[in-house]
Symmetry: none
DNA sequence: AATGAATGAGCGTTCATTCAT
DNA sequence: TATGAATGAACGCTCATTCAT
């Protein structure tokens, strides 16, 4: 293997560490010096691995998309009923609240970069969203895309409210409520969720 | 006698025009020069009316909170059933989609600015959120705060998805679905909504 | 009398009030707005009476020069011995400490304006200094110009030390010391000072 | 490896070159761009070495205090009598007239900057003045603090008069006069000055 | 590969000055 | 005469980026 492997690997390591940095200060506010300091390298080194701040950010955004959501969502499997699924979702959101808020910050930052937006919207971005919808469908046994969008939007909104400092929102309570409403709304809903067997492998596509 | 200008009124006019400017580029990215250009005044004039960029932004945030909530939501009154209410909400979201997306950008930008965040979270910010929740309660006859948060989060999420370029989301469809789910979930829900008479006046509090 | 008299008079009133303003902040640091506020007029009015900040400052410098020092120095007359004269000088300096420090600030500010410096150095400036030297000669019966310069420099230095925050300097003590030294140094000094009769009128020249 | 530059040394080189720049225009009037130009570096580089204009100025003030006092006054040693000492002082003042005038400008500028005044008056400023007084005492064998202040003020005043363009002042003549006056005033004064052996080392304290 | 010194355009902001009223 | 709104060049300072080492 040529040296390029090490280079690439190191680049990815740096990229990973950038997540928190961008999330905490925002694209516009964080400086390359601060990023370099956070990564424990010099600005020169940073520019050795990334041609520009914009490129670094876009690679980070890419990386987030590429990162397999499967490992994270794996926790949600195993529930026997929809209600249990939703309660697991609530616990999962609580546990990863910080991560989701940061993730949200970064995406929104990204969306304000119009040029890159158009560049990526059609590829990674949309694909990512579709994945989420699919995961929801598989995970919760919701095949109707409108219903999947409903759940997705609701979860987005929960995180957004938290991001806005709304401390009255309780993820567990809200997800439980969603579970109850869905259960009532979907009388045809099977007692046991059988469809989720291949959730993770379905993400590969 | 000086040039005849109603200082306060002109200030508000400028403020209104700032909304789009901030929304399009974000607080951190737009410059005072760009704002001045967008407003067709010099930077000096801009600073004549607003002591700093931060102050300008905060006044804008205030203004949005003060004004739009009541006037905008006024349109949602008049529905006879919850289902109708939700369908009106859907149409309202569609109609003001751009506005809400911009509004969302502005708030999120604001949140990444930590200093102002701490300064305002306790005042305008929280108060605004409480208002929204109250409006939802009054408007849709939902008194349960958990349920109100549910609806609020759902609406937030719809907008966020749109902001993220998710074009598969249909506000009307989604709101209709919410209506159906709520109707099923709340069998005790009265056929006619009577509670909403004083929605707007309740905003005064 | 034409209106110009009022104009001129008002101009001088404004000028007088500028003394403290310039002295406290310095030419470079004070703004025309601050001056206008201190004068209780608008900037427009300020510019109606003075064509520019520089001109205002130069007129002030002129004014200070023109102001008859006689009234102030009059207090120093009446001493019967050199020692008494010097003690009176000490008390006088203590009493007007603030004024002299401000006066010194303004002059030094003025000296840093090279253009105006050259313009005025030869006229008002030098004449002013000669006057001081003359006053010292007449007042203290010191005819030797070197000795007069000595006393002048010493007094300048006392004020400068105070301006620099040296709180250990005691004007009265220092002037008394000067008196003693001069008395010892000038054994031929007459017991009574007779030469000072026309001190004030000599300033007219 | 970075560009090979001794950061500290280069910083001091820049600092030295700043002396004239500040002296000629004054703290308030000179701009960082002008300083950068005078130093033949970019503003960015200037800020790479000094965090702010104020800090640059304070470091300069420090530097002056630390360095010049001892090295400069070293020249004054070696006189056998008070009269000789004073004549050496006169020659020294003539030789360094420009330097002292600039030095005076710098300090006065500094004093009109209130914030820094309060910050430093207690530290560098006062300490510096005390040192000067001590040097005078040691150098001229003057132990009485009132007398030391007298000499200090007189020297300050000489420089101030020169700064004000008074060309009739002759440092040598004036210092010789001071010498004579002191000699007459201090009959107890020893024919040979013995106390000054350790003047310079006394500055260490 | 790695460093950090160097750059300069551009930021938020100020302020002497002008001018419509 | 008097006002204060308006201007824009210039301020102190920042920061993405380049480059000599």
């Amino acid at each position: 293997m040529p040296k390029i492997v090490d280079h690439e690997q190191y680049r990815k390591e740096l990229l990973d560490k950038c997540f928190d940095l961008f999330a905490e200060k925002g694209y516009g506010s964080i400086t390359m010096r601060q990023i370099a300091e956070g990564l424990r390298v010099s600005t020169g080194t940073l520019y050795h691995y990334f041609p520009s701040k914009q490129a670094l950010f876009e690679q980070l955004a890419q990386e987030i998309c590429e990162q397999d959501l499967s490992t994270a969502l794996a926790e949600l499997q195993g529930a026997q009923t929809l209600q249990e699924s939703m309660e697991a979702l609530g616990r999962y959101l609580v546990k990863n609240e910080d991560y989701f808020i940061k993730w949200t910050y970064i995406w929104i930052d990204f969306c304000q970069h119009k040029d890159s937006k158009e560049m990526l919207k059609n590829s990674i971005f949309k694909r990512n969203n579709q994945r989420y919808q699919k995961v929801i469908g598989d995970l919760f046994g919701i095949q109707d895309s409108v219903l999947a969008s409903f759940v997705l939007s609701f979860v987005d909104g929960l995180i957004l409210e938290k991001l806005w400092g709304n401390e009255t929102i309780d993820f567990i309570e809200q997800c439980a409520l969603l579970g109850k409403m869905l259960t009532v709304y979907l009388p045809q809903y099977p007692a046991e969720i059988k469809a989720q067997t291949h959730v993770l492998s379905s993400l590969e596509s």
